[in-house]
Symmetry: C2
Subunit: 210 residues, 2 copies
DNA sequence: GTTAATGGATACTGCTACTATCCATCACAG
DNA sequence: CTGTGATGGATAGTAGCAGTATCCATTAAC
C-alpha cells in the first residue's frame, strides 16, 4: 500500500506520517522506485501503536522512539524494555532540594519498600516521583493521604499480579515484550480512567446536592 | 514578606512568580505603595499547591487556574470541584471515528458501569478515555488486558474507598474541597509511581537475567 | 543619598509536535 | 504518449505552552 492508503487506514494525516518517518518512529517503506515506496501491515500496526502511546499514553515522541527501538532490538532483556516504558511515562525531575519533608518522605518510602520486600533500584525514576509526592502531600497538610501508603500499595499489587497473569498468556518473546510495554503504558491510562469514573460515581452518591 | 522572600521559601524563581501573578494563578499581594506589595502565608501555601499540581500532577497552567478558581469560589458544590480536577488531568480528545472497535468498547464499558452500579454522566471526560483505551488495546491485539476490566475495577474501587475515608477526616468545607482536589490529582501520581515500583520489583523477580 | 529591589508592562526564548511548501519524479487514465 | 495527480525527500514555517528577560519609574534600606 502507498502512503495515502496507510493514512486512510490509520487515520493519521500524510504529513504526520512523513514526520514519523523522518523522526525514525516508523521504518521506511520498501522502495519500488526512487520516489515510490510500499508499506505493509507491519507499518500499519506500528503506526497504530505509535498513536496509542502518544494519544492515550501521553508519551512524548522522543520517548516513543526509545521504546520502539527497544522493541526492535531483539534479545534486549525484558527488564530493560520495562525500564524504557517506565522512563517514557515518568518525567525526569530536576532533583529538588533535600528539605526536611523530602528526607522524611524518603525514609517513609524506603521503609515501605523494605516492608514489602520490593526490589527497587535506587535510581528508579518512579522512586523520586513517589518520594516527591509524599513530601508534597505532607507540605500541603494532606498527611492523611500519605499515611495510607500501605493500603495503596496493597491495591497496587493487585494490578501487577493481573499484568503478570496477563502477560504469561503470550509465549513469543517479541509479543511478550510488546505486551509488557503496552500493558505498562496503556494500563496506567486504563487505571486512571477507571479511578476517575469510580470517583465521579462515589461523589454523586455521597454529595448529591452538596 | 516581599517577592524575593516568597521566592526563597517556595523555591520558585521570581520571574515565574510574576508569571503566575499575571496569569491569575496567584492572587496579587497587598499593595503597601504603588510598587510594593506584601505576600502572606496564604500566598506561600497557594504557590506550593500550584507547583505540586504542575510538577507532580502534570497539570497545564490553564487547568491549574480553573481548579484554583473553583477552590476560591465558595459554595461551589463538591461535585463540581471534582469535575474540574478530573478535567484538569484528562486531556480532551478530538472524538475519534466510530470504528467497529470503538463501538464494541463503548458497549463493554457501558456494561461494566451498569454492572457496578456506577453513576456516570455520559459526557464524563474519563469515559471517552476509557472507551478509547479499551478499543486501542483490542486493535493492538492485547485483548487479554481489556478482558480484565472487572478485576481492574475491583482494585480501583479500593482507592476510592480510601479517598472517601481520607476526606471525611476533614470537617471544614474549604478544606474538604482542597483535599478532594489534591487527592484526586496527586493521588493519581502516587498510584502510578507505586505501580511502577511494584512492577519493577516483580520484573526483577520473574525475569532476573532474561 | 546612593544602591538594590520591586511592581508592572512588554518582548523574547526554547521546546514540542506537527504543517506547509517545493520539487523532481513516477503511476496511470485517456 | 501526454497530461494530471500522487509520491518521496528536503527544508522551512507554525501554534501552543511555560516560562525568561528586559525595561522603567519608583521605593526600601542602609
Amino acid at each position: 500500500m502507498r502512503i495515502a492508503e496507510l493514512s486512510r487506514q490509520s487515520g493519521v494525516p500524510v504529513p504526520t506520517i512523513k514526520y514519523y518517518l523522518r523522526e525514525g518512529l516508523l521504518p521506511a517503506g520498501e522502495l519500488t522506485s526512487p520516489n515510490q515506496a510500499s508499506y505493509g501491515e507491519t507499518h500499519l500496526r506500528r503506526l497504530r501503536l505509535i498513536r496509542a502511546l502518544i494519544d492515550l499514553g501521553q508519551v512524548p515522541v522522543a520517548r516513543v522512539k526509545d521504546i520502539l527501538e527497544g522493541l526492535d532490538s531483539d534479545d534486549l532483556p525484558l527488564h530493560d524494555q520495562i525500564g524504557r516504558a517506565h522512563r517514557a511515562i515518568t518525567p525526569t525531575r530536576p532533583a529538588s532540594a533535600n528539605t526536611e519533608a523530602r528526607t522524611a518522605a524518603a525514609v517513609q518510602v524506603g521503609d515501605l519498600i523494605t516492608r514489602r520486600g520490593w526490589q527497587v533500584e535506587p535510581d528508579a525514576p518512579a522512586l523520586t516521583t513517589l518520594i516527591e509526592t509524599v513530601a508534597a502531600l505532607r507540605t500541603l497538610d494532606q498527611d492523611h493521604l500519605a499515611d495510607y501508603l500501605d493500603a495503596y500499595a496493597d491495591a497496587v499489587e493487585k494490578f501487577t499480579a493481573l499484568e503478570v497473569a496477563s502477560v504469561t498468556t503470550r509465549t513469543d518473546p517479541d509479543q511478550i515484550a510488546e505486551s509488557v510495554v503496552i500493558g505498562t503504558i496503556l494500563g496506567e491510562t486504563l487505571i486512571a480512567a477507571l479511578r476517575l469514573l469510580a470517583q465521579e460515581s462515589i461523589s454523586a452518591h455521597s454529595w448529591p446536592r452538596d
